[in-house]
């Protein structure tokens, strides 16, 4: 892979000049084409003739990716208070603090999105008495992968509504950690807790 430094240059097609011109690599702020955000201070090739950005070297892709994914809104849902209490109790059970709730949810969302068989079973939890109640608390989950995992899980479970999906995941956690006390998920959660503590 060729790594470019600020000040180096190469020939590149310039759309404004309608020709191949020398482009010098500089740090610039470059917007996304859909108008939703800017990648700040990223290495790009700039046309020496007209000063427009003409080249994005591959080494800048991770910075672009990070900014692109940061635009995503968090996954949120309004939930009955007792479901948030279940999450808090689950963190207590594994020896963590309530700060661990988002990590625990993201772990389950990702794990279920990769296990079609397990994912298809969680819709049944929506029939439980615990799935109902006034939605007085909010759960917000941020992360680069969360949006894709949630969309994939919606397709697997056929649960279209984000809040219903979150409810079924929480009740799955309830069954694994608090009711049946399954050793494997509890051990996995303890390992993750140790990594993020």
């Amino acid at each position: 892979m060729k790594i470019f430094k600020v000040g180096e240059s190469q020939k590149a097609a310039c759309n404004k000049c309608q020709s191949f011109e020398n482009a010098t690599f500089q740090l610039r702020d470059v917007p996304f084409s859909d108008g939703r955000g800017i990648v700040k201070n990223v290495l790009v090739g700039v046309c020496d003739k007209c000063d427009s950005v003409t080249v994005l070297p591959h080494q800048s892709t991770p910075a672009v990716k990070r900014q692109y994914e940061a635009r995503r809104k968090p996954v949120e849902g309004r939930l009955p208070a007792h479901l948030i209490d279940i999450l808090n109790l689950a963190t207590l059970e594994i020896g963590a603090s309530t700060d661990f709730v988002p990590s625990m949810m993201k772990y389950y969302i990702h794990k279920l999105s990769e296990d079609e068989k397990a994912a298809k079973k969680i819709a049944q939890y929506l029939k439980s008495e615990l799935a109902s109640g006034r939605s007085e608390k909010r759960l917000s989950l941020k992360g680069r992968q969360i949006f894709d995992d949630i969309e994939h899980l919606k397709a697997l479970t056929h649960i279209e509504n984000t809040t219903d999906l979150l409810k079924s995941i929480i009740l799955k956690i309830n069954e694994d950690v608090l009711v049946k006390r399954r050793s494997k998920p509890i051990e996995n959660l303890r390992n993750i807790m140790a990594a993020v503590a």
Binding site: M1, K16, T54, T61, V64
Partner: protein, 58 residues
Amino acid sequence: MGFKDAKRQVIECLEKGLVSHEVRDDIDVKNLLAIGRVTLEAGLVYQVVLCRAEQRIH
């Protein structure tokens, strides 16, 4: 340069990471390689497995 030669060169560039993306004042969000949603390896698979003779290589 014929299609086969062009394809060979694209594959070589993808293998070695010798890739840059054209920018027209902004970063095209439809360019999945540029925004990192598709890896070079996936792009390589596309070229090797799926690229057909009637498609142009840019």
